[in-house]
């Protein structure tokens, strides 16, 4: 019977769909319906992928992109969580920064690339800055929200046990706000990846974003698509890894909410 199948028909269809599309594309390219110069056959892209992987050409650009992302993401997240804790705990700090944050936050961060290039040139500093800006705000907003949402009973409990100031923040507020902070970190990771690629496309000398543009400019279309596939896989893996980590660390969050 159908409902006893371990995999549902809907699931099978969902996996089959991209396979069918790839086969159709292969057919279309082979028959000449699609110009090979614009869209190469999937089998050609696969061949290029194998060449990139086997030849060890993956690591330098991937490393460059991940390095930029990691440094910017790490620094911006730490700063955002720090400021978020301050803004969430102190009315005065909140009132001081809130207007500034609300003005800069909605600005699409790629729009900052031209002025940033003006100030910082086209090196890594500029790229990290723009990625950092994209990462900073979602983490900040979620941290503030999470901190403000911490149950006052928890904080008062800690106070009656003699906790104060920094120890309340590190032992109670930060862990209690962590599910919110993680939501911000996950959104920021996606945005960070977008921004690092955009920055590399505009002003890069290495990295995956740069390669994609470079291949297009030099008519190495198959290679361009291969790098696009690599980028897609990278985004997928980063998100998957993050979700795993979040589920591992935040196991108590959904459970306790369900019972409260």
């Amino acid at each position: 019977m159908l409902h006893r199948l371990p995999v549902s028909p809907g699931r099978i269809a969902a996996v089959l769909l991209p396979v069918l599309l790839l086969l159709a594309l292969e057919q279309a390219v082979d028959s000449g319906a699609v110009r090979r110069a614009l869209i190469p056959a999937p089998s050609d892209v696969w061949g290029e992928l194998v060449y990139i992987l086997q030849g060890g050409h993956l690591w330098a650009p991937l490393g460059k992109t991940l390095y930029l992302l990691a440094v910017a993401y790490g620094c911006a997240s730490v700063l955002a969580i720090g400021l978020g804790l301050l803004m969430g705990r102190s009315r005065a700090v909140y009132n001081l920064f809130e207007p500034l944050v609300e003005v800069i936050r909605p600005l699409p961060k790629p729009a900052l690339l031209p002025p940033l290039i003006l100030f910082l040139g086209i090196g890594d500093t500029m790229k990290m800055t723009v990625v950092g800006l994209a990462v900073f705000f979602p983490v900040l907003i979620n941290t503030v929200q999470g901190v403000r949402g911490v149950d006052p009973v928890l904080v008062e409990t800690a106070r009656t046990f003699g906790y104060s100031g920094g120890r309340i923040v590190s032992r109670v507020v930060l862990p209690a706000a962590l599910p919110f902070i993680f939501t911000g970190l996950r959104i920021a990771l996606g945005l960070g990846l977008i921004l690092v690629v955009v920055a590399e496309m505009l002003a890069g000398t290495g990295g995956i974003g740069f390669l994609i543009v470079d291949m297009q400019r030099t008519f190495q279309v198959t290679s361009m698509y291969a790098w696009l596939v690599i980028l897609a896989v990278l985004g997928f893996l980063l998100n998957l890894g993050f979700e795993r980590l979040e589920a591992r660390l935040m196991f108590w969050s959904r459970q306790s909410e369900g019972r409260a």
Binding site: V153, E156, G162, V172, W252, R259, A260
Partner: protein, 264 residues
């Protein structure tokens, strides 16, 4: 184990939104002396400011007027030796910590030599409340009554000289409540801390206390204090059958329900 300490409230008043049109007087001139080692219960109708009263006594909230002193020293923040047991146990336990780690939360500030020592010390308290087997579970895996027992174990692990109880038995079922009453009485008799309970449950007040203070509805003042004069140890079956128990119960229920016209 140190003995319980005294708590003195002298002319304490509390207004919310002071100076604004919506100003509300919650407490009007509360004076109360809790003796060392005493079990005193404050009863009052719902919404009469019992929690406000207790939070001020604990130094968690500032009074508008008057003074609070613990062992003669003025209270201007949560003092050492005082532990507060909240009504909302699900909200006062840390969901990311296991049961034993929640109990350890009470003593982490005091620099016990090692992790293992701390754990062993705290296990004793979990044993007292009968939860040693649940040490490595998470609070949200336990029933309501068990969670409140964790909160009680944690409160006692801090070795309080005075324990403030904010309706801690009001959100569990009747049988669990009786068990928790027995437990708190036994622990109090063993350890002789001062206990200050607020509740709207008259039976609970009579069952547990040496003395009962009756709070009026807002703006609250203490209408009278009554010595229960019931023998200890209390028994969940025979104590409520004593004539004195019934007399107190009758009297308190009457005086708590009477001034309703004035409250509206």
């Amino acid at each position: 184990m140190q003995d319980g300490c005294t708590l003195a409230l002298d002319g304490v008043t509390k207004s919310f939104s002071q100076g604004r049109p919506e100003e509300m007087m919650a407490l009007a001139d509360i004076s109360l002396d809790v003796a060392a080692g005493e079990f005193l219960t404050v009863v009052g109708p719902s919404g009469c400011g019992k929690s406000t009263f207790l939070q001020i006594a604990a130094g968690l909230m500032e009074a508008t007027g008057g003074a609070v002193a613990l062992d003669g020293r003025p209270v201007d923040g949560p003092p050492g030796g005082l532990v507060y047991l909240f009504q909302q146990y699900t909200r006062s336990l840390l969901p990311w910590r296991t049961v034993i780690r929640n109990v350890e939360f009470a003593v982490e500030g005091r620099g016990r030599a090692s992790r293992r020592e701390r754990r062993e010390f705290c296990m004793e308290f979990l044993e007292m409340v009968g939860l040693a087997d649940f040490a490595d579970r998470y609070p949200w895996q336990l029933s309501g009554g068990m969670q409140q027992r964790v909160a009680i174990a944690r409160a006692l692990a801090a070795e309080p000289r005075i324990l403030l109880l904010d309706e801690p038995f009001s959100s569990v079922d009747a049988l669990t409540r009786m068990e928790l009453h027995d437990m708190i009485l036994k622990l109090w008799e063993d350890r002789r801390f001062t206990a200050l309970l607020v509740t709207h449950d008259v039976d609970e007040a009579v069952m547990l206390s040496d003395r009962i203070a009756v709070l009026s509805s807002r703006p609250s003042r203490i209408v009278e204090t009554i010595e229960t004069g019931l023998p200890r140890p209390r028994d969940r079956i025979t104590t409520p059958e004593l004539p004195r128990f019934l007399e107190l119960r009758h009297y308190l229920l009457e005086s708590l329900t009477k001034p309703k016209d004035h409250a509206a």
